[in-house]
């Protein structure tokens, strides 16, 4: 803004402070982002960053970057990461450990499953990087009419309803098998 000239612009922000988390779920983990709204100077270099910490077997719901490439660098622990390209082919399905990185191109869907306290930092090539999740309360499937889902996947209305409404979380969930009932206190939005 006007009150900041380039000389006095802030150039750093600590995103490791738990109190600063943008997304937080007890016993699952937290995610903190920094973008041009957080530090205006990022607008000039068109870059942003996201810090993630997963506990136990937590999972980041499948998603894709809408307007950025992502470089995901592991700072702690280990996770299984799968990446799918525009042809629907699996282009990566590996474990990522401390000190390793993965390139996730724009639009490629990916999922991160922590195997033991996975921590990472992601750099994104857009000052206002946006994601679109494929599961969960704000997902693409949730935004589609049931009629679209039944016709697109040739499934019944009831099945479409399950796909659309079963997952209530937005970003982080616990990777458990199938349809176990979920305790409400785990759903902290």
């Amino acid at each position: 803004g006007l009150e900041e000239t380039i000389c006095s612009m802030r150039t750093h922000e600590n995103i490791d402070d738990p109190a600063r988390a943008d997304i937080y779920k007890p016993n699952l983990g937290r995610v903190t982002s920094v973008n041009s709204y957080t530090i205006p100077i990022l607008q000039y270099i068109r870059l942003s960053a996201t810090r993630g910490i997963l506990q136990g077997s937590a999972m980041v719901l499948p998603k894709y970057n809408m307007n950025a490439n992502e470089i995901l660098y592991c700072t702690q622990g280990q996770a299984r990461i799968q990446v799918v390209n525009d042809n629907g082919q699996n282009v990566l399905d590996q474990q990522v450990q401390k000190g390793q990185l993965v390139v996730i191109p724009q639009g490629f869907a990916y999922v991160v499953q922590s195997q033991n306290n996975f921590e990472w930092i992601s750099f994104k090539t857009n000052a206002n990087a946006m994601i679109s999740t494929l599961a969960g309360r704000t997902s693409a499937l949730r935004a589609l009419p049931l009629e679209v889902i039944t016709n697109a996947f040739q499934i019944s209305l009831e099945e479409a309803r399950k796909i659309k409404f079963n997952t209530l979380e937005t970003t982080l969930t616990r990777a458990r098998g199938g349809q176990q009932p979920q305790l409400i206190e785990e759903i902290v939005e």
């Binding site: 639009g107 679109s132 693409a140």
Partner: protein, 310 residues
């Protein structure tokens, strides 16, 4: 574009000694329509840094949810339909309040139905102040329902009296220009009685496309054995984005069983990217009364019915 520092490979593609009229070079057929595109490696098209395609959706055809890594602008050449798009983080503001089977048909159901209807009508702005107050009610109601949903899970939905809710659905018709941002999935259904023809330009040299200069299409659903849009190198079959995941992971993410997760991958589906909808396409949409009155005015059928129709 050169002054903007166009990447070298595009730069040397600009030998424009003579131009010529271009026809589509490839066609991808689907169950209820086809996709025709011009080869984006053609020097003239490559110099412009774009990729162009024509989408033809037959009557009752449905173009499956798709998104691109580049911005897109389209023009509706012929026909009419409805289109929806996914903008992450936006609320599901369209609510289908048709009563469900087995659902309580009592007063409470009616009241919610009306409230739902009014909510929708509210969006048409027909009821003024009252709408504002009802809109608020609608939102509270919706949140109330969300809250209930969270606590009692899916089996409660039948009693809550709404069938579905989703993001905005719009009417499209010939003459419309449609803009799509990268990463925002959209779908189109032909509601007219003739083919819906849409010509689209994908701006692959736009800075918002962070990938290479090939048009990349991402499908949320469907499977096309004939391959994807984008010239010869895309001839391998194009599957939907869920196809590449381990079904177990999809099942965990969506909290469904693995069999249903496998169905989402459309592995057995060879209908292509434009499928035929069997039976009514029950997606709630606002009425289109004003537009079509003016339409009839422009194309009067038979003698004027009343003096003001002259």
């Amino acid at each position: 574009r050169q002054s903007l520092g166009v990447p070298p490979q595009v730069k040397d593609a600009c030998n424009l000694d003579n131009l010529d009229v271009l026809q589509p070079t490839e066609t991808i057929k689907s169950e209820a329509g086809r996709l025709e595109y011009w080869d984006h490696n053609n020097p003239q098209i490559r110099c412009a840094g774009v990729s162009i395609a024509r989408l033809v959706i037959e009557q009752g055809g449905f173009y499956l949810p798709t998104f691109f890594s580049s911005p897109k602008i389209s023009y509706v050449v012929q026909g009419m339909g409805i289109s929806g798009r996914v903008i992450p983080g936006c609320a599901e503001t369209f609510m289908d309040s048709q009563p469900m089977q087995g659902q309580q048909q009592g007063h409470q159901g009616q009241q919610q139905g009306q409230q739902g209807q009014q909510g929708q009508q509210g969006q048409q702005g027909q009821q003024g102040q009252q709408q504002g107050q009802q809109g608020q009610q609608g939102q509270q109601g919706q949140q109330g329902q969300q809250g209930q949903q969270g606590q009692q899970g899916q089996q409660q939905q039948g009693q809550q009296g709404f069938r579905d809710m989703y993001q905005k659905v719009e009417h499209v018709r010939h003459g419309d220009v449609i803009a799509n941002t990268p990463g925002s999935a959209h779908w189109i259904y032909n509601t007219g009685d003739k083919p819906l023809v849409i010509i689209s330009l994908l701006d692959i040299a736009n800075y918002q496309n962070q990938l290479d200069r090939n048009p990349r299409v991402f499908r949320l659903a469907g499977n096309n054995p004939q391959g994807g849009f984008g010239g010869p190198q895309q001839q391998q079959p194009q599957q939907n984005i869920l196809n590449g995941f381990d079904p177990q992971v999809i099942a965990q993410a969506l909290k469904i069983d693995v069999r249903l997760a496998q169905e989402l991958q459309n592995k057995q589906d060879s209908r292509g990217n434009i499928v035929r909808v069997k039976g009514p396409f029950q997606v709630v949409r606002p009425p289109l009364r004003q537009a079509y009155e003016s339409e009839q005015w422009r194309h009067p059928r038979g003698p004027p019915q009343s003096p003001q129709d002259n």
